[in-house]
């Protein structure tokens, strides 16, 4: 196997056994990026020099003989909304095209402390707003399984890079499915942790009450390893929670027996791609075969999730994106007459159309006279959706659903109709509204050879159970050994 295809845990072994060096591994991944990224456009910035320097440092640590930090020498990519000091952070937007991050995000700092090599910054929908990656202000990232298709969004670059072996692993962010959907579309593992599990400090905000950073990896063990590094309380993020992290990788092999898995009837809808339903149902049957008990549950407010999500997310976005005004940093329109024109022209030219749509709608739902009817109502529905889940978890330990109603669609297919596009997130969005952890695991392929994803949803801070189930499932299949035809 070539070095670039290694998982984190495989690379760990080889690095520690001194079978390969961190520089060799990093070089292999850089070469892979060079060979494939013209077709994929996963990367917005490749940190060649910094990565090689970090790899050299990792090799020195590895040569020391003492136990190296967990990710020592492992190349990891960051979604371009996550800040790394001294590296450009565009958030997929023209308005930040030249913005160099002056500080590290907490997750970046933790990766560095764990010895990881930051290989580069990967593509995403502008400000993480999108389900297909076509809203990237630069160029859309492509799906490695079929470059005419989208990788999913918004963390499309993260999933595509991992699927195409352009990184051992990546971090993405998930506000309404933005890690899980691309993970499913690209056939990799993606986890959205419980809200508050991972620090948001240094992550360009889209919708603050929903955003969460999570791993995008080649298998479930890697996902647990990466979560172990990034999870935990951060005093710089008031919404990060101070509960202990159990050591996710250590508990993977405890099996499934006695676990109750809930199947919500509302998540198997008309119009779903039949192969998706078949693959997910087979996966559930497999879990049952491994000792899990399958129970039927109901999440009655599911149908309101998409509308609720878009009101809350857009409201928060309209405020979060107000700082991109051309005054202090980022793009500034030239030759404007006055302050009003500076704001208007900067933002009109700097933001893409989907971002502008969401800012406009967000400002609308917060405005006097509409606040109660939209924003306040949405917050109430959000509470009902969360209660649905908490009630369901009285009868089960986790919930299994499809990640998305279809496999990856073609570029341009849904671009003309934002509402159809928004429905790609129909199964993932409620999880963000409820603040729960959700895991996307590959569970098969459709007739076009496109991956299908199984979603496992857990109670708050029960990532461990999801990873355990995902790991048990994964071991019974060889989906992960299939590689995209690049």
């Amino acid at each position: 196997m070539s070095h670039h295809a290694l998982t984190i845990h495989q690379a760990q072994q080889k690095l520690r056994a001194r079978e390969i060096s961190a520089v060799e591994l990093t070089q292999a991944v850089l070469t892979r990026i060079q060979e494939t990224d013209e077709r994929l456009h996963s990367y917005l910035t490749v940190c060649t020099e910094e990565a090689l320097a970090q790899a050299e440092a990792a090799d020195r640590t590895l040569a020391n003989g003492a136990t190296p930090p967990p990710l020592c020498g492992i190349p990891v990519a960051l979604k371009d909304v996550i800040l790394a000091q001294g590296v450009r952070a565009t958030a997929g937007s023209k308005i930040l095209e030249q913005f160099i991050a002056p500080y590290d995000a907490t997750v970046t700092q933790r990766l560095k402390e764990a010895g990881a090599v930051i290989i580069g910054k990967v593509n995403c929908d502008e400000f993480a707003m999108g389900s297909s990656n076509e809203n990237s202000a630069f160029t859309p990232c492509r799906n490695p399984w079929d470059t005419d298709r989208v990788p999913g969004g918004s963390s499309g670059g993260s999933a595509a890079a991992v699927a195409a072996d352009q990184a051992c692993a990546a971090l993405g962010t998930d506000t309404g499915g933005s890690i899980r959907l691309p993970a499913a579309f690209c056939g990799v593992v993606g986890l959205k942790p419980t809200y508050g599990r991972v620090s948001r400090f240094g992550v360009v905000a889209y919708a603050s009450s929903l955003d969460q950073v999570g791993p995008c990896t080649k298998d479930v063990r890697d996902c647990a390893l990466l979560l172990d590094v990034i999870a935990g309380h951060d005093p710089r993020d008031s919404t990060s929670v101070n509960t202990p992290t159990p050591g996710y990788a250590a508990h993977l092999e405890q099996g499934l027996s006695g676990l109750r898995i809930g199947i919500p009837q509302e998540y198997f809808i008309e119009g779903m791609q039949p192969e998706v339903e078949t693959a997910v149902r087979e996966a559930i049957a497999h879990l049952q075969g491994l000792g899990a008990e399958i129970v039927s549950i109901s999440l009655p407010h599911t149908e309101y999730a998409v509308a609720t999500y878009y009101i809350i997310a857009m409201a928060e976005a309209s405020s979060n994106l107000a700082r991109y005004d051309g005054v202090r940093y980022g793009y500034r329109a030239s030759e404007v007459e006055d302050l009003g024109a500076l704001y208007q022209t900067t933002r009109a030219q700097g933001f893409g159309s989907e971002v502008k749509r969401r800012i406009a709608l967000g400002a609308y739902v917060l405005s006097a006279g509409y606040y109660d009817a939209y924003y306040l109502k949405a917050q109430k529905v959000r509470t009902l959706i969360r209660q649905d889940f908490l009630r369901a978890f009285e009868a089960c330990d986790m919930i299994a659903t499809p990640v998305a109603p279809t496999t990856a669609f073609r570029l341009g297919e849904k671009l003309a109709d934002p509402l159809t596009m928004y429905l790609s997130d129909i199964f993932t969005i409620a999880v963000n509204l409820a603040g729960l952890p959700g895991l996307s695991v590959p569970c098969g392929f459709d007739q076009h050879g496109l991956p299908v994803g199984l979603q496992l949803i857990g109670p708050p801070f029960e990532e461990e159970v999801l990873l355990r189930a995902g790991y048990a499932y994964e071991r019974g299949h060889d989906w992960r050994t299939r590689k995209p035809p690049l």
């Binding site: 991050a101 008031s238 919404t239 409201a315 405020s319 700082r323 005054v327 202090r328 917060l366």
Partner: protein, 497 residues
């Protein structure tokens, strides 16, 4: 028709915390532009606010000192508007659930004359106090400063002030005149200074005030249409602007027109209010709960901890001054109206503990008069006052000990203020020491009596009122340095012979 004004004030008080409300940057005033900034207060991508708990302590102090009900769970809200000195495009404030509500400030009723900067009235005791109710107190972050006139063709922005903590204190429309508004504002400032949360300096902007003013026919219980006046950066501006606004609204109504609900700016040079251009303020702030901050939970223990640390408040200090120093009500009121004045009085008294009333007279008549004359009505610190309190105490001690007369003391005090010298030095260098040497005094008395034989005759004939004349002549002959009591005694003896 006769009209009554209905006035409510919105006060912004900058808090004296060391660091900003949501980051660790210094709040110190006067640094080079943009020195006290970091990614958080610059509003860079990805940053998050972390609450400075000290700000909550300060807000709780203010809430307790104004008898507010403290909200057990309050909430941060974003106030959205665009301005170059507002880096995030929103201000973190509180909206639906402020930290405190339903309080009041006790305001002494007016004495003769209005707007006395230091309440140096004609000596009348205050009438009954009035309570001005508070609607709410909430915390928020300050914006930066836009500088429009430093560079041609450009506006500059200084973000040192961005994120400095503020309290917004909103009164009910309980105030009925400009003078009462000034009185309320002084009482509120005194409270904030007493609890050491704000230095109260209006000129430097650490205390800011907006006035909501409407008028209605006297006797009516309905409210008229109100205007909000901004840019009031002195007590005088507050009072003048309100007076002007009452006058303007009265003229509008009497001309049969309607008062327009609007925001107006006080133009201090022309002493008028004028409407703000609509561009200068946003109409819809799109408030919503800030998702980056958890609801603020203040439990009983926290409140009690703050209560236990609360310093002595004006009312308690007033009572103590009357009880412990046996001061008249008026003195106690004037001295405690400002914490710095009360502190100054007590520090002076320590140097001269036997004569509280004399020290009180000196502080009220001399010290406060100079402070007022020299427009030092800012947030003064004792250490920066023209004459330190220990020296004033020493000066008064010298009067008590008969070293100088009160008259001489007044001139010595002038010199102390001007030169910063100790009273003993001035007395020694100018030879002002009181003359108590009976030989010298006897000689002076003999001279005066010899020069006025007719008056001596008259005195001896029963016109004893003439004693004052003789004392005056002796004082004059000694350039005021004679010990007046001694002169009195010696004169009586001499004239009785």
């Amino acid at each position: 028709m006769s009209y009554e004004a209905v006035i409510g004030l919105e006060v912004h008080a900058q808090l004296l915390t060391e660091s900003k409300i949501f980051c660790g940057c210094s709040t110190r005033f006067g640094a080079a532009p943009n020195q006290h900034t970091c990614p958080v207060c610059l509003g860079l991508p990805g940053v998050l606010p972390v609450l400075n708990k000290k700000v909550v302590d300060f807000a709780l102090r203010a809430a307790l000192a104004t008898h507010c009900t403290i909200t057990p769970t309050s909430r941060w809200a974003r106030k959205n508007y665009f301005y170059p000195d507002l880096p995030k495009g929103y201000q973190i404030s509180m909206y639906e659930l402020p930290i405190a509500e339903h309080g009041y400030v006790e305001v002494p009723a007016l004495r003769t004359g209005s707007g006395q900067a230091l309440r140096l009235g004609s000596g009348q005791a205050p009438e009954q106090a009035k309570k001005v109710r508070l609607t709410r107190i909430h915390m928020e972050e300050d914006a930066g400063k836009s500088i429009h006139d430093a560079e041609a063709g450009a506006s500059l922005v200084d973000l040192n002030r961005t994120g400095v903590p503020l309290l917004e204190i909103v009164s009910e429309p309980d105030i009925r005149s400009a003078a009462e508004a000034g009185s309320y504002l002084r009482s509120l400032r005194a409270l904030l200074q007493y609890i050491e949360v704000c230095d109260g300096n209006m000129e430097e902007g650490s205390l800011r005030c907006d006035a909501n003013v409407s008028i209605r026919p006297r006797g009516s219980t309905e409210f008229g249409t109100r205007t909000e006046t901004k840019n009031l950066n002195s007590f005088r501006a507050v009072e003048k602007a309100i007076e002007h606004e009452i006058q303007r609204q009265t003229e509008v109504v009497e001309a049969g027109r309607r008062v327009v609900q609007e925001t107006r700016l006080w133009d201090a040079d022309r002493e008028v209010t004028r409407p703000m251009r609509s561009k200068e303020f946003a109409h819809d702030y799109r408030y919503f709960p800030d998702p980056d901050l958890l609801p603020l939970v203040v439990d009983r223990a926290w409140v009690e901890r703050v209560r236990a640390d609360l310093p002595e408040l004006p009312a308690a200090r007033r009572a103590r001054f009357r009880r412990d120093y046996d001061l008249p009500a008026y003195d106690a009121e004037v001295l405690t109206a400002r914490k710095d004045v009360a502190d100054y009085f007590e520090a002076s008294l320590r140097a001269c503990p036997a004569a509280p009333k004399v020290v009180s007279n000196w502080v009220m008549d001399s010290v406060l008069r100079f402070v007022k004359e020299e427009k030092l009505d800012a947030a003064l610190k004792i250490e920066t006052w023209p004459c330190p309190p220990e020296r004033l105490g020493a000066l008064i001690g010298l009067i008590q000990d008969g070293v100088i007369s009160t008259t001489i003391a007044k001139t010595v005090y002038e010199d102390m203020r001007r030169t910063g010298q100790a009273p003993e030095e001035i007395i020694a260098s100018k030879g002002l020491r009181q003359v108590s040497d009976t030989d010298i005094l006897q000689a002076a008395i003999a001279e005066v009596l010899t020069a006025n034989p007719d008056k001596v005759e008259a005195y001896r004939g029963g016109k004893e009122k003439l004693l004052g004349f003789f004392v005056g002549q002796v004082m004059r002959a000694t350039q005021g340095k004679a010990n007046p009591q001694l002169v009195n005694t010696l004169l009586r003896q001499k004239l009785a012979q």
